[in-house]
Every structure is written in structure tokens, then in C-alpha cells.
């Protein structure tokens, strides 16, 4: 059966797959940057000690983490137009959902990272006259980020792989593009094989990059 494979259709499908890949990457990057920013704020809110602020952040994080991503994608896509009265488009909707979803996961990683910095470091920063926010910005977060890079990037791999879920709202990521091409040319198996190789190549090279980064930014202790 395997000798019936015909990979000659791949070049024909490349433009479509490339476009899909571009969207997957765009979605990953937007959700990663937005998620890290929002996630940091959520983590700081949870650690703020303010009852309402911390409580609200906790509810948000718990809610996001207990609902399957696929369901969030669908909900968001159908709910927002109902609430705002106008459609947001599949791609925008996906980007917003992924950002909100990632933020919840990143915030837990950030929270652990921030808590891993000894209290003495904060005291030292405060003792030279820094404000709470300066101590966070110059002392705690830079160290926390360094400690968290491996976990953050692992979470980002998962995010990249999860971008394939946007098929549910009809957005075209790499997997969907490959599937479409497979149907068109009647070569589904080849297409799936091909995108698997691409997923692997991207994730593998990223993990090599993580290893390299770890060595470069590790704090000497």
C-alpha cells in the first residue's frame, strides 16, 4: 500500500500549505506575545494580595483552564457577534481566543516563576529605595522570566500544535490547507505525512533553540 504513495502533488499544494503555515505561525506569535503580557498582569493580580483583584484573576484562570480550547474557539466565534452585533471574522476571533486562553496558562507559569524568586531579593530591591513596581520590573520579573523560559516555550509548542483546532470555525491553518489539498488531488495520506514532517521540523528546531537559549541566559548561581 505504501508504494502507492505519490508525492508529486506536494509542489502543487505548497502555496496553499505555505499560506496555512503562515497563519498558524501568526496565530502562535500573536497569542504568545499577547498571552505573556496578559498572563504577567494576571499573575501580578493574583499575587497582589488585593482580595477582589486576586479573586477575579483566579476565577478567570480557573475558568479558562477548565474549558476545552476547542469549545472556547467555538463559543467565542458564535458569542461575540451576538454580543456586539457584528462578526469579527474567523481569523481575528481565533487570535483573540488563543490569546485569552494562553494568558491563563502563562499566568500560572509566571506565578510559579515569580514565587520562585526569594523574598530577600524583593527586600533588597525595596531597601535601596525601589518602589514595588520597580522591584518587579528590574529585579523579580527579569529573573522569573529567565527561570521560566523552558516551560513557557514548551507551552508555546503546544499552542502551535493546537492552532490546528481553528478548523472548527472554518479558518485555514496549515493542517486544514493540507487537508483541502489532499481532497482536491485525492492524495490525503501524502498530505498528512507531509505536514507531519513540517510540524516535526518546526517543533524540533524550536526545541534546539530552547536548549541554546537556556545556556545563554542561564543565571550563574
Amino acid at each position: 500500500m505504501l508504494n502507492n504513495l505519490d508525492f508529486s502533488v506536494i509542489p502543487l499544494a505548497l502555496p496553499a500549505i505555505g499560506k496555512g503555515l503562515l497563519f498558524s505561525l501568526q496565530l502562535t506569535i500573536v497569542a504568545m506575545i499577547g498571552g505573556v503580557i496578559l498572563g504577567t498582569l494576571l499573575a501580578l493580580a493574583r499575587l497582589s494580595g488585593g482580595k477582589w483583584l486576586a479573586g477575579a484573576a483566579k476565577v478567570y484562570v480557573d475558568l479558562m483552564r477548565s474549558i476545552p480550547l476547542l469549545m472556547m474557539i467555538l463559543w467565542f466565534f458564535f458569542l461575540i457577534p451576538l454580543l456586539t452585533g457584528r462578526p469579527v471574522g474567523q481569523e481575528n476571533s481565533a487570535m483573540i481566543t488563543f490569546t485569552l486562553f494562553q494568558a491563563a496558562f502563562y499566568s500560572e507559569i509566571m506565578r510559579a516563576g515569580i514565587q520562585s524568586i526569594p523574598r530577600g531579593q524583593v527586600n533588597a530591591a525595596l531597601a535601596i529605595g525601589m518602589t514595588y513596581w520597580q522591584s518587579m520590573g528590574h529585579v523579580v520579573l527579569p529573573q522569573a522570566f529567565r527561570n521560566m523560559v523552558p516551560v513557557l516555550l514548551t507551552q508555546t509548542f503546544i499552542l502551535f500544535q493546537d492552532t490546528s483546532l481553528v478548523y472548527a470555525i472554518g479558518a485555514t491553518d496549515m493542517l486544514k490547507a493540507a487537508e483541502n489539498a489532499g481532497m482536491l488531488y485525492g492524495r490525503t495520506v501524502e498530505m498528512y505525512l507531509f505536514v507531519s514532517v513540517i510540524y516535526f521540523a518546526i517543533c524540533f528546531s524550536l526545541s534546539m533553540f530552547v536548549k541554546y537559549m537556556n545556556k545563554r541566559i542561564a543565571i550563574i548561581r
Partner: protein, 242 residues
Amino acid sequence: MIQIQNVSKWYGQFQVLTECSTSISKGEVVVVCGPSGSGKSTLIKCVNGLEPVQQGKIVVNGTAVTDPGTNLPKLRSHVGMVFQHFELFPHMSITENLAIGQVKVLGRSQDEARERGLKLLDRVGLNAHANKFPGELSGGQQQRVAIARALSMDPICMLFDEPTSALDPEMINEVLDVMVELAQEGMTMMVVTHEMGFARKVANRVVFMDQGRIVEDASKDEFFGQPRSDRAQQFLSKILNH
């Protein structure tokens, strides 16, 4: 310079400080000692407001630390503090450690801060290490950098919270030497330490704490000559005759 008046502090139900009162005048060196858990580290952290107190009043250079309206960052910027575990910022080079407070808090330029930092590093005998990171230095060296970092803010007084207790024995003296020099230059210092040799050499007064109370507050000669309380006598005989 520093007035501590009837200070009491609780962690939940547990009372860590009970009615502590003492004061330190300008240029004075006061050593605070006592068994572990006696509240001495907590007391010194109250002086610059790192730990809040529930009762009593602390005044530093005319500013009430315990007032809710006090601008604590501003006050702390001219009260130097040195910690047991050095607490240098491990992600910054030594030069950056010395510059960060000057630049971000005092608003000095990078060049100015760098120059002042290098001068102080020279003073603690470590200018060969300017571009290293804290993790590359020994404990004693790190603590000397930490003292230089505190000095870089041109403090009006210095707080030392067990500055030598995390050090290997052979490194204690290099840190104490810097502190002795500082004391002899007339710096106002409050020092939590078990180093009685240091106390004998430079302290004006010794405060002895036990179970959250100041049990003894006497001049150096009085304290080492004949402490009034039994607790202080026991403590002294234990740490002097080992």
C-alpha cells in the same frame, strides 16, 4: 538618628516583638545580639519598614517609618541595608548591581553611577571583579559588593542584618574589616551580629534581645564587663567560651 519607641509586632497570634525601645544617635554604632528567634532580625527590618509593626513608633532621621503616609521608598533610599544572604541581583553584573539603585532611584546618569560604583568597588578591594556576575564571586566578596551597593546610595545610616552568619569562617574577617573601617569613619550603624569581637572593637552600645524583648541596652564596657540580666550573662558565656 533612629528612635524605636515601644514597638510590638505580631505574626498572626504569635508576638515576635514586645515593647521594644532604643535609639541610635548620629555616628553611633549599636550591636544587636541575642539567641536565634529573639526577634533581632525582625526588629532591624522594621527600621526601614520592610516589616510593618502593629504598635509603637519608629522614627528615622525625623521621618516616622510607622506612619501610613510616609514615602517609604524615599526613606529607604538613604538608609543602607546589608542582608545575611547578600541578595545581590544575580542577573546583573557587579557594575550593574552597583549602578541600578543610583540610576533608577536617585536619578543619576549611567556614567556617574558607574564611576561612583567603581570607586566603592575599589574601596572594598574588588575592582578586578567589576564585570563579573555575583555567582562568580565568593560569599565574602559578594557581601563586600553588597556593602558597596548600599554605600552607593550615600546613606545617612546603615543597617546590617547578620552580615557574616552565612559566610565560611575564613571569609568573615574580610567583611568585618570593611565594617570596622566604616564605623571608624563615623557611619551610624545598627548591626545585628554574633561577632562579639566586632562589638568589642567598634560598638558604642550593645542591645541584647531575648524572646522579642530588649533585655539589656548598655554601653559596650558595661555589657562585656558585667551584664545585668542572667540571660545576657548566659548568652555571653556561651558564645565567648566556645
